[in-house]
Structures are given as structure tokens and as C-alpha cells.
């Protein structure tokens, strides 16, 4: 599905999203970011590693890990219990990992997340690092800073210092 088709499929003005819409929207947005960052999936793997193709695609792990943080779950355990008991998510993600495997697979994707975060900056037309000169942040102040003017009035008057 192309970006424009996905955008038109996204709900625009409704007051509330339902969970299924939210997950699909997240998945599509992450797919856009992966394309923007130039990251391709091979055998269900976003991070190249040895071994057979995993049962659960890395993109699904990525989507669920983002969903966990977006919904504000403090612990992995809490999220996993909610995930296990949610009929909608069970339908959307029929293949599931065990909880320790889930945390390990998520940790495996950490190097990717930095690039994806910057891809979202780029997708929003944000100035991604290095910020361009339009940011109005002048460079290296220490190199050009003016030395502080010496406060003469704060000096000890030389005449008042008694020399033996």
C-alpha cells in the first residue's frame, strides 16, 4: 500500500479512534518511516542476524513495542497481560512471542530505533541533525564570546594594600 493510499485510509476528523484503527495507523506510519530510513525487511528481519526466518516479523514486534509506550504501560508484564487478554490484538497478531522473548526481540531492534526517530523528524519536515542554519542557533559561542569587562570598582585599591 502506498503512502497516499494509507493517508486517505487514515481516519481524519473522527473524535475517537478504536484500537484496531490505532494499530493499523501505527503499523502504516512505521512502514513509512522504515521506507524513509531505507531499511528493508529480509525474511521478517529488520536487523540482519543469522538463523531462520522468525515466526513473528520484526515489524510486528516494532509496532507492539511502540504501542506499549504510547499507551503508557510501565512494565512489560502489565503490557503483556493486557495484550494476551485483548481479543482485538489477538486477531491482529495471531502469532505471539513469550514474554522474555518479546523483551529480547525488542532489545534487538534498539539500533534501528534511532534511525526511525530521525526518519520521523524528516517525514515531518523537521530539521534533523545537523540542524540547518535557519535554526538561528549561532555556532560555538565560546570561540567568539566577548571576554567579560573587568570590573575595576571591585578591585582592591592598590593604595590600600600595605607593603612591608
Amino acid at each position: 500500500m502506498g503512502t497516499l493510499e494509507r493517508e486517505s485510509a487514515m481516519p481524519r476528523t473522527r473524535e475517537t479512534l478504536d484500537l484496531e484503527e490505532l494499530v493499523i495507523t501505527l503499523y502504516a506510519a512505521l512502514d513509512d518511516a522504515l521506507t524513509e530510513a531505507g531499511i528493508a525487511t529480509r525474511d521478517g528481519k529488520l536487523v540482519p542476524r543469522p538463523g531462520p526466518a522468525p515466526d513473528v516479523d520484526d515489524r510486528e514486534v516494532l509496532c507492539l513495542a511502540v504501542l506499549q509506550e504510547l499507551l503508557g504501560f510501565e512494565s512489560d508484564h502489565g503490557f503483556y497481560q493486557w495484550f494476551e487478554s485483548n481479543a482485538c490484538l489477538q486477531q491482529l497478531f495471531p502469532r505471539r512471542l513469550t514474554r522474555p522473548n518479546w523483551a529480547d526481540r525488542r532489545a534487538l531492534l534498539t539500533p534501528l530505533v534511532e534511525r526511525l526517530s530521525q526518519a520521523f523528524c524528516a517525514l515531518d519536515g523537521e530539521e534533523s541533525p545537523p540542524f540547518s542554519s535557519s535554526t538561528r542557533i549561532r555556532s560555538m559561542s565560546a570561540a567568539r564570546s566577548e571576554p567579560a569587562a573587568r570590573n575595576v570598582s571591585a578591585d582592591w585599591p592598590r593604595t590600600a594594600i600595605a607593603h612591608p
Binding site: 481524519r12 475517537t16 501505527l26 506499549q68 541533525p129 542557533i137 549561532r138
Partner: protein
């Protein structure tokens, strides 16, 4: 653990770096030397690099404008002071919002590897939520409608 966040002018998180909690703030800046980050930073007076590191930062493509204390020999220009005054409040507010919306003050996990993974995923969720809000025409910094969906 102490975390340093780099925000873009539009409010996205460009980079996150964790350093041990008992280290000085400026170590977060020096830590960027070991990463892929390049860019221009604004910070408070704790981020003022020492001369030896300043050169290394410049070579890496990281430039810093930091507040100066009144008793320091170097002083920022009036323009830089205005810039710092203008941006500091905004950045503090964004840090507070990130903390509240993504439970950034409390992250439960088993090991440092998992901790770092979760912190980076919080950053990704932050940027993604801002991206979706823009597309869905929702308030730019809200996540309440996502949480309502669940």
C-alpha cells in the same frame, strides 16, 4: 541513570543519551562524541565544554551555545542570551511533557540492555505520536486520544 534529551526546534526528540546518574551534566555532551550525532545544541551552563573537548566537538560537527555564569570570563553575546532565554522554557516544558506522557520517570525492566531499548522506544513513540497527530489533525502534543482507543 541520567538521561540527556536533544530536542529539535519543532519539538521532536533528535537524540537521547544515558550516562550514570553520578556524572556531571557535561558528560552527556561529551558522550555525544561517541555517537553518530551531529548538530547545534543549546544548553544551560552545565553544558559548557572545556577547551580540550571543545575542539573535539567542533571537529565532530557538534556546536554548543550554553549559558554562562556572571562570574565567568567568557560571556555570551546579547543575541545568544536572547536565544537561550527564548528556548529554555520551551525545552523544559517539552522534557516535562515527555516525562508525563511516556512515564519517562519510571521504567521497569530486567537489565540495562532492556532499559536502553525501552528508553529509545519511548523516544520513538514520542516522535511517532507527534507525526500521527499532524496527519490525523489532532492537537499536536496530545496522546490522550491514543490511550482512549485502548
Amino acid at each position: 541513570m541520567r538521561e540527556h534529551l536533544v530536542f529539535t526546534p519543532g519539538g521532536r526528540i533528535a537524540f537521547v543519551l544515558q550516562v550514570p546518574g553520578n556524572r556531571h551534566d557535561v558528560q552527556g555532551l561529551y558522550g555525544l562524541l561517541k555517537t553518530t550525532f551531529r548538530g547545534r545544541l543549546l544548553g544551560d551552563n552545565a553544558y559548557w565544554p572545556k577547551a580540550a573537548k571543545r575542539e573535539a566537538l567542533t571537529q565532530k560537527g557538534i556546536t554548543v551555545t550554553a549559558a554562562a555564569r556572571s562570574n565567568w570570563k567568557v560571556r555570551n553575546t546579547a543575541e545568544e542570551k536572547t536565544l537561550l532565554r527564548q528556548w529554555r522554557g520551551k525545552v523544559e516544558r517539552r522534557i516535562g511533557l515527555f516525562d508525563r506522557q511516556f512515564n519517562a520517570g519510571r521504567t521497569l525492566c530486567r537489565s540495562r540492555r532492556h532499559y536502553e531499548a525501552r528508553r529509545w522506544f519511548k523516544v520513538l513513540s514520542h516522535n511517532l505520536s507527534r507525526h500521527l497527530n499532524r496527519k490525523l489533525r489532532r492537537p499536536r502534543e496530545s496522546v490522550a486520544h491514543f490511550q482512549l482507543a485502548a
